[in-house]
């Protein structure tokens, strides 16, 4: 049996000691163990940022690409090898700022991947600037008088586009987060988990502040109720719900047209067209 130990990577972890990113990493490892996945069956995909360093810290295949482009790379990886469990680990800057367009269009495609956003509400790696989710009023280096614009509500966008699995997790609640990740990875279609990840270096609230506000959605909450889900996405300051916010059935599944007609095998295993077939193919351009 695979254990958490087997996911230990050789790379030195570069996060601040005590950063809740460590908990997200741990939750992900636990989820993978629970799902019985082996390192070579997994591909972690990320962009650039603190969050985006995660793939280095979990032994598996990984693609640490450009800032903002993790979701796009993941779409390609997923088509190329649908057998892989493809998981994006990204930050609020990476996924909602630089990469905003890719994520909203990925929602339309509904690929069978999992997107985990470490939402610390800052650009942590570049020294704590405001991100698209920084709360209005907060003073940041480029907004010395305080952020004056509204935060981006990507979970609401996901829900409005019938994303099949929208959840919010909390890095301060390891077990709950692990269960969410298990569900998300098991889910067929785009599963999206926005994780509240207090940054202990640049943040203005201590972990305790979050713990006082976070609550788990209970059984009474109906994740198929879109209006309710949308409302839940807006609880971000006084009370913070965690759990599966929304579930729906998909219109489409990215690459399913291909998998249906061709193969679920890795594309690399397909045999090339041979010369004769090619000659036949070219005959369509032949005159007379």
């Amino acid at each position: 049996m695979i254990t958490v130990e087997e996911f230990k990577s050789k790379a030195e972890i570069q996060w601040c000691p005590g950063c809740p990113n460590h908990a997200i990493l741990q939750a992900l490892k636990m989820a993978l163990v629970e799902l019985g996945k082996a390192p070579h069956e997994i591909c972690l995909v990320s962009g650039i940022g603190q969050a985006a360093k995660l793939p280095h810290y979990l032994k598996c295949n990984f693609f640490n690409g450009l800032h903002g482009r993790a979701v796009s790379a993941a779409l390609g990886i997923h088509v190329a090898n649908p057998e892989l469990t493809t998981i994006v680990t990204t930050g609020d800057g990476d996924c909602y700022g630089e990469g905003g367009n890719h994520f909203i269009h990925a929602l339309r495609r509904n690929p069978d991947i999992t997107v985990i956003v470490h939402n610390n509400e800052y650009y942590a790696l570049t020294l704590g600037q405001a991100s698209p989710t920084t709360m209005p009023g907060e003073k940041r280096s480029l907004q010395p008088k305080g952020v004056e614009i509204a935060p981006l509500n990507m979970p609401a966008i996901a829900i409005a586009h019938n994303c099949t699995f929208v959840a919010r997790g909390f890095a301060g609640d390891l077990d709950h987060l692990k269960s969410l990740l298990v569900e998300a990875i098991k889910h067929t279609g785009l599963s999206y988990v926005d994780v509240i990840q207090p940054c202990i270096t640049w943040g203005i609230h201590p972990m305790r502040w979050y713990k006082e506000r976070v609550y788990q959605l209970d059984e009474e909450y109906d994740p198929t109720d879109r209006d309710a889900a949308l409302e839940k996405t807006e609880e971000r300051t006084e009370r913070m719900p965690i759990g599966v916010l929304y579930r729906s059935s998909p219109l489409s599944l990215y690459a399913s047209r291909f998998r249906k007609t061709v193969t679920r095998r890795p594309l690399a295993e397909l045999r090339p067209l041979d010369r004769e077939k090619m000659a036949g193919f070219l005959s369509r351009f032949r005159s007379g």
């Binding site: 650039i48 598996c60 397909l270």
Partner: protein, 561 residues
């Protein structure tokens, strides 16, 4: 027979392209060498566009500007294109607008007899085919194929329209026309680069293409989308070019040969991705179909204005190859080569085409498939014990596996990394070694590059040096100059980066010929070979280089030498 140049002109929406293609196919089926090119405005209806078809007994894949026959679908088209018509040329139009006009009231008949002016173009081409002495059936077969997906009704109506037009061209017309095209034996392919490239990609084992529509490159993914199942290539329309390239890089990492295509502006958005592919060592083929810039420029016109941009694209330093095919056959071979070399050296290969190449069709006698085919470079996981994606090797090439292929883990990183793909801050050893590893591949690539093609170099006084799509035009320019007593040779590059180890013969006067305003090839060759140029012929009005243009500009600049 002398070459015959037929120009069909009309407004966007009048079906110039449809009947131009039909006529080209018909003449090709008749056994002639056909070369067609198009020039059109960036609009969906209106304006005036042309489709030029050069017909010859031998294969002459180069544009002519002057027309022997002009088929003008409206009066504006006569106005705009009549100046191209040679003195002894023939106009085919609705009204007598000059001497030597064959009058065919195609619009009127289309409206009256076929219930819609959309048949005017087919009637007109029917008349033209009759005038050229080709059998109706040859045209009809082409039309039937062309309209097949539109349903039987559309096919029937068009065949009837063609027949009607054919019948309108009475003996008087045929007599007026000094040219006839009796059936010949020659059989060949009539194909454009935007058909050759995707076909070759499939042959090379490409499995993934993502792109965002941009003229003149869109036809490549359109072709593959239509053939997706047949060719087993997954195609995806991306939300923007950045997604397109990053998706393709992801697929490449995932083990699929992958490509994208765009034009200059879209490529500008991709260059961060180019740098990524260089860093993570992901094979990738990118077609950049050039059009005049800067910015949106002239979206439907041609240029060779992105040479230095492509070569220097992407921040930082990494190996990359830039190919510039000269015609569809060359593009076919270069595309297979591009996929093979991208895989072998695990990096980006850019193919520079342009609007002229993209919207032209060329006669290809034979594809010589036996000369080229896919070569696979993915390593065998069994033979590797302790796998490291970026293992340092003498030639800089590390064994490449893809994720999930085996239990070996494949990690790649856009940061500077160690052999296992993990972020490194070890500067003096790891970072330096990785820089050198990537540049070692550049040296390897340099050895792969073919030398430029030399033509008529012996005895040549002046040498025209060109690249990419202008090859045939330059050859024709030399022929024309030769008639004026100028001994000229050609050196032509279709592999422009890295540049090969090559020595330019001494004692010649070198001129570059380029579709741009700043002489980019000249600048490049000066920097690589220290070569000095006597002159340069540059065209930057959005139209393709022709032999005649080259002759004229050479004489303008050299004062007739």
């Amino acid at each position: 027979m002398d070459d015959l140049n037929v120009v069909i002109a009309g407004a966007a929406g009048e079906g110039v392209q449809t009947v131009g293609a039909a006529l080209a196919d018909t003449v090709s089926a008749q056994g002639y060498g056909v070369f067609s090119w198009q020039e059109f405005e960036s609009r969906i209806r209106g304006g005036q566009n042309s489709y030029s078809i050069r017909i010859s007994e031998e294969v002459r894949n180069a544009p002519l500007m002057d027309a022997d026959i002009l088929l003008a679908l409206n009066e504006g088209a006569v106005k705009k294109y009549e100046p191209l018509l040679k003195q002894e040329g023939i106009l085919l139009a609705e009204k007598e607008m000059r001497q030597r006009t064959i009058v065919i009231p195609f619009t009127k008949i289309a409206e009256k007899e076929f219930g819609g002016i959309i048949y005017a173009n087919t009637i007109a081409v029917g008349a033209l085919v009759a005038t050229l002495g080709i059998e109706l059936d040859t045209l009809n077969q082409i039309l039937a194929r062309q309209f097949a997906d539109k349903g039987a009704g559309v096919v029937r109506a068009n065949l009837a329209a063609a027949e009607r037009g054919y019948s309108l061209a009475d003996q008087g017309c045929i007599d007026m026309c000094p040219w006839g095209l009796p059936k010949r034996d020659m059989r060949s392919y009539l194909i454009g680069v935007n058909e050759a490239i995707p076909s070759a990609a499939a042959y090379a084992g490409c499995r993934y293409m993502s792109a965002y529509p941009m003229s003149p490159s869109t036809a490549i993914i359109t072709f593959l989308a239509r053939e997706e199942e047949h060719l087993e290539i997954f195609t995806e329309q991306a939300e923007d070019e950045i997604a397109a390239i990053n998706m393709a890089i992801g697929a490449s990492y995932g083990g699929a040969r992958a490509m994208t295509a765009t034009s200059g502006g879209g490529f500008a958005l991709m260059v961060e991705g180019v740098s990524l592919a260089g860093m993570i060592e992901a094979p990738l083929v990118i077609v950049v179909a050039q059009r005049p810039g800067p910015a949106t420029g002239l979206p439907t016109r041609t240029a060779q204005g992105d040479l230095l941009f492509a070569i220097n694209s992407g921040h930082g330093e990494f190996p990359k190859m830039v190919l510039a095919p000269s015609d569809p056959k060359d593009a076919f071979h270069k595309t297979v080569r591009a996929f093979n070399l991208a895989d072998k050296y695990q990096t980006v290969v850019i193919m520079l085409t342009d609007q002229f190449l993209s919207d032209s069709r060329f006669t290809v006698e034979d594809f010589a498939l036996e000369e080229i085919g896919p070569t696979v470079y993915i390593a065998d996981p069994q033979s590797i014990k302790d796998y490291k994606r970026y293992r340092l090797t003498a030639d800089g090439i590390s064994p490449r596996l893809y994720p999930g292929q085996s239990e070996h883990l494949v990690g790649v990183d856009s940061d500077e990394h160690n052999e296992e793909g993990h972020i490194t801050e070890d500067l003096s050893k790891t970072a330096v070694a990785m820089v050198e590893k990537r540049l070692a591949k550049f040296e390897g690539l340099r050895n792969e590059v073919s030398p430029p093609e030399e033509v008529q170099m012996e005895g040549a006084d002046i040498v025209l040096v060109g690249w990419g799509s202008s090859r045939q035009a330059i050859l024709e320019g030399l022929e024309l100059l030769n008639k004026e007593g100028i001994e000229g040779g050609m050196i032509h590059f279709t592999e422009v980066w890295p540049l090969p180890i090559y020595t330019f013969p001494r004692g010649k006067k070198y001129w570059t010929v380029e579709s741009n305003a700043t002489g980019q090839l000249a600048r490049l060759l000066r920097s690589e070979y220290g070569l000095d140029f006597t002159g340069s012929i540059r065209r930057y009005d959005g139209l393709p280089l022709t032999g005649e243009y080259i002759r004229r500009r050479f004489n303008d600049y050299s004062g007739g030498v």
